[in-house]
Symmetry: D2
Subunit: 386 residues, 4 copies
């Protein structure tokens, strides 16, 4: 198979971008702002559509409720479609209500749990209005001190809450359950690892699937191994891509460890999960704390595409042969050959052939879009995590 | 409930000690030796029986095949019983055969996999001869380099191998599957986490259970949370207790983080799993690289007992009340009250009442046993990891 | 030496509390509020004084500039002294100005660096007005992406900025330089470790000292070892005490790993650094995100006292003897004997003898203070990180 | 500057290979063997010379005492020079003597310390006999249990031992002091971090320099930052290159995180430390546990060369311009442009121009050398860590 043929497998591959990446974000110490930051969901979608126009890779935008709440979601959907993109997953929010200080779906108080469940039913309505099929639930619940709450009790209450949410889904809907190692709680998180997420999904049913956020693991965790496990179990629903050096840093995907991203994509390709029918939704979840947001998103989708392209170039026949011979270095070298190959020219050719800019980063800089929105978006309140 | 009543729940609690803890062990850099180290399984069991005689806590000894292979396992069993202990779990060995360089139960070559499976059938025979009911399988397989082997292929082959082993068990036998984060392979382990172990156990059947070794996790992992999950899933078969600061250090349990050991025991008590009928086997797996081995084992079983005693002293009514009120510090303080309580006197009283030495460490030092075995065990080859 | 005699070494020991612990804090996801939270530095100091009144352990309050800026620092000082406490270290703030997005003392732009230096000169004025002698500088500077800035250039610029600040100190002032492993930047921090802090202090002069925050290290770091090194080098200026499970969690000191806190105190005692003349300032730096703040501070100072008390009980003659004999377990057991000793009664006796409540936590709960400030402090803006 | 010009800076760059990489190594669980493994230092040097002949990059071989002890070191030196290489650093061994169970240079017993010091004087004699100028000291000392020994006492004793060793050096000799985070001891290492190594080097004098082993850090540590610090302090004496995913895995350099290796080389180039006069010795320290050893070494030196080549291609003018503009993504992209460039063809051209094989890995496979040594080296004892 020629490289061109191998890369043709990129044709159906898409990445979903998060609306909140276009708003301001930061650390507990400071949220810096940038000129031109969107003030509302319509402007966020406009920026996201710009990323898709430049790259051809990002035709969907995830929404966050309540950050992206609008009066008329049908109008938001139409706005997106006019700009050439559509609404992707709906993300719920369980971390900004004063009631949730000690938990939401796990809270000891049934009233609080009911409120958290009801929020998801509201999200399901947004799904219906926007045509979204993925309800994404990141559970921020946890505890800070040993003894603070019953770990077992919280699991049981969580299971009950999830059952109610799952029951409210339409048949074409999926529930995507995300896990996270730590933060915003430090002693325990209630879904800290893929094993816990999987157990809850198994208890719910087949349309409950696990979300793997690449920044949500303990140090040293082999993430591509988890990809393999979740695919083997038929439960990998989605990625939240980003980069991290230490914690949930939410940096541009591929910026901290491009070889890790490549290895993840190698396992994806090995099980055919990069293809549209696989059911795996490739999403970004990033925080552009100090860098330009739109450029950051363009760079991100290009990094994912580049990693996938390299993964597609792996000579699988040679790899399998070396593996079967027990040729450790030979097999490793087959993989590294693909990684060391510079695919940027080939990807530029593909873009050009599709009527896209060869260099989307340069095209973005040359477009004047950043200056335009900085000039236009004056007044109002810049969007952020609220 | 008075403290005495609370501590009465210790009555049925036992700890299983590993035969190999009495032999030499070390790091890849050096295995230091000590005078009096056993030369054969009979001497190992004699030392283990000494630990039980001093503490009343350790009535079972795990064996390792082939390290503890003897011509007549019936005789070994009788030897143990004469000394007041019995044979516990049988541990297989998949890491010392040249054939296993690239894997054992996961190896790409069916011949090697068959050999590794056959070794377990041999272990089942040892179980029958010794009356053991637990077959413990730690899978040391993994890879060192990306691309070295197919991660998915290895899982599939592992699943097949495990099915063959499980099928060979008698109805009263359990298969205990252990996971480990890293070492002796560094890029991947084939069972690196509890999620993977659980998936394989689920595929096998109810008598396949997970072993939690307290040193086999990524940094920062909340181990008591995993205890809760595995108990909730009905799959916690056993512990391998030890301490670690960084990697799989195999230090004396309770020496690195006694509060963590206490928290683990709190969750055990919360679900009643410290009681004999729970099916959880509390085992040690340690390496006394530089310290006296028998004293190290005595210290270890006392540390586990102490942690459990403190866990039993938790005022659960006060704890639950504080948790239900959302009193974070109050609930934490209830737990800490138990932890800060000095239970050593109460435990000494209990020992005395049972005809055991109040201070087993001092009794061991005073016994002259160390000098005796150093004098007697001259010649031959000291036992170690072979 | 009797336990009472050993504990008499607690007499001169004090802990400095941070004004900001009494205000609201949180994660990037949410800052929860509590009724009665102070609205200004005067109210913060009132709460801090309450902690001292209950415990007798916390006679100093650290201020943060600009969070604690008042028109008349002399009046604030007098207010503190009337309430029985005094002003401790002055903490600068380099992380909340838009100019500092890419750095402060390290910024490539001399104007920004000059601004950051000038802020410290302002802090020196506050020191003069409040009688403070410690200028504490935590450098939040760093980068998120490889290539973003010159790592060497940033060190050189930092050295220059620090020289200017150090030159502005009065002879009785110290500069306390804090290091932090990660956050709020993720690729590099400009002072990530004690080695870097020490090099800068060495370049400045003897009154530049290192601050050790117990939450600012990589996983698995042996913190008491760093204590030993900094004391040996004569450069341990202060602690920022708190607890962490994974990152800079800023939990109540002693809540995550009480044995680690004890080990730190053992090394402090071994070099006599708990005594007033040692020059080591024992400070707290915590965030009571979800728990009661004043109770959290009371608990914290009691935990530090308890750990120090246990450290003072170590039988150093027995310890040294066991160490010199190479008795590994014996020496460890000497340490553990002290750790397992329940000192709470003895500490209550000491408090009672000094006219303090035996149980400061209970006394605080019984005092009605929380209800009183919740009723009084209505209106205005609760203090937080701004 | 054209790429060819940039790459011309590779001309003087060399890598030192360790004799022990050609012998057997493994984990505490198993040391696997390979046919053709050298039986003595002469055969090790023959293999090392082969790596140099294939790559032109590895003209020096580190020796280890006592593993490489021969009767006549002059003959070994001549053997090396006949094969086109020479003797590099001399590595001492403080971890395999029974006397060192509780320490060597730090041991509480002066007799043991004197023995450990004397071993280094012996190494200095080997340096004189072989023309080596680097005495490399990795201190494996540490403790496993809190309380086991006095941390402060061990530092003081270490300082004394190092003074004696340093005093024995000839004026042209350097003492290279290596640090390591953990292993073979788990509670403390006596030189666990670069700060400790630096303090001891500062106390000794200018010819005491720090060795940075890329596998000897806590998780998440930014290694290139330490490179910058040590260069800035004038104390970076050498690298021990290898790869790790979790602990001191000693895998092939560049196999786990090629981007990290590139970033290290970027900082090296930024301070000109890749050039022969810099005093930085670029060494490998690896364990080919399961892979072919000679191929592993060839791959390793090529990986280092490749990373350096990419670092030399960084457009420093563009990088500095973007940094000065505060263009975060722009500056990062300049770095990534170099990283993503495929330099393998250019490096093959350079090799060809120097009379070397374009593809050293293929040339090695085609050479029949592996079969030849497997056939010749029959009988005797394969070299390993003894």
């Amino acid at each position: 198979m020629s490289p061109q043929e191998a890369l043709s497998d990129l044709d159906g591959f898409t990445i979903e971008v998060p609306s909140w990446a276009y708003g301001n974000s930061g650390t507990r110490f400071k949220v810096f702002t940038t000129p031109g930051t969107p003030r509302d969901p319509f402007e966020k979608i406009a920026d996201a559509a710009r990323v898709h126009a430049l790259t051809g890779l990002a035709p969907r935008v995830s929404l966050h409720v309540p950050w992206d709440r609008v009066e008329d979601f049908g109008r938001l959907r139409a706005h997106a479609e006019e700009l050439g993109v559509r609404i992707g997953g709906i993300n719920s929010n369980l971390f900004q209500d004063d009631d949730y200080r000690l938990g939401s779906l796990t809270h000891v108080d049934p009233r609080v749990r009911a409120k958290a469940v009801a929020h998801h039913l509201d999200c399901v309505d947004v799904m219906r209005a926007t045509g979204s099929t993925d309800l994404k639930l990141w559970l921020p619940d946890g505890t800070n001190y040993a003894g603070q709450d019953s770990l077992r009790g919280r699991q049981d209450r969580l299971a009950g809450s999830l059952r109610e949410i799952y029951a409210a889904l339409d048949p074409e809907h999926r529930l995507l359950v995300e896990y996270k190692f730590f933060e915003p709680y430090f002693y325990t998180m209630d879904i800290p690892d893929w094993g816990t997420a999987l157990l809850h999904c198994q208890a719910l049913g087949e349309r409950a699937q696990v979300v793997l956020d690449t920044g949500h693991h303990a140090p040293g965790t082999n993430i591509e191994f988890i990809v393999v496990q979740l695919l083997r179990a038929g439960r990998l629903g989605a990625f939240d891509f980003n980069s991290r050096f230490y914690a949930d840093d939410d940096l541009i995907v591929g910026s901290a460890d491009p070889f890790q991203l490549f290895r993840i994509m190698v396992e994806i390709v090995a099980q055919g999960a990069h293809r549209p029918g696989s059911g795996v939704n490739f999403m970004l979840d990033q925080c552009h704390n100090i860098e330009d947001k739109i450029a950051g998103q363009v760079r991100s989708v290009l990094n994912v595409e580049q990693a996938l392209a390299k993964a597609l170039l792996v000579d699988t026949a040679a790899l399998t042969a070396a593996q079967e011979e027990g040729d450790v270095i030979g097999a490793h070298d087959v993989l590294m050959d693909a990684f060391h190959t510079d695919v940027r020219g080939a990807l530029a050719d593909r873009r050009e052939a599709r009527g896209l800019p060869r260099d989307p980063m340069a095209a973005y800089r040359a477009s004047g879009y950043a200056a335009k929105i900085a000039a236009e978006r004056v007044g109002g309140t810049q969007a952020g995590w609220s």
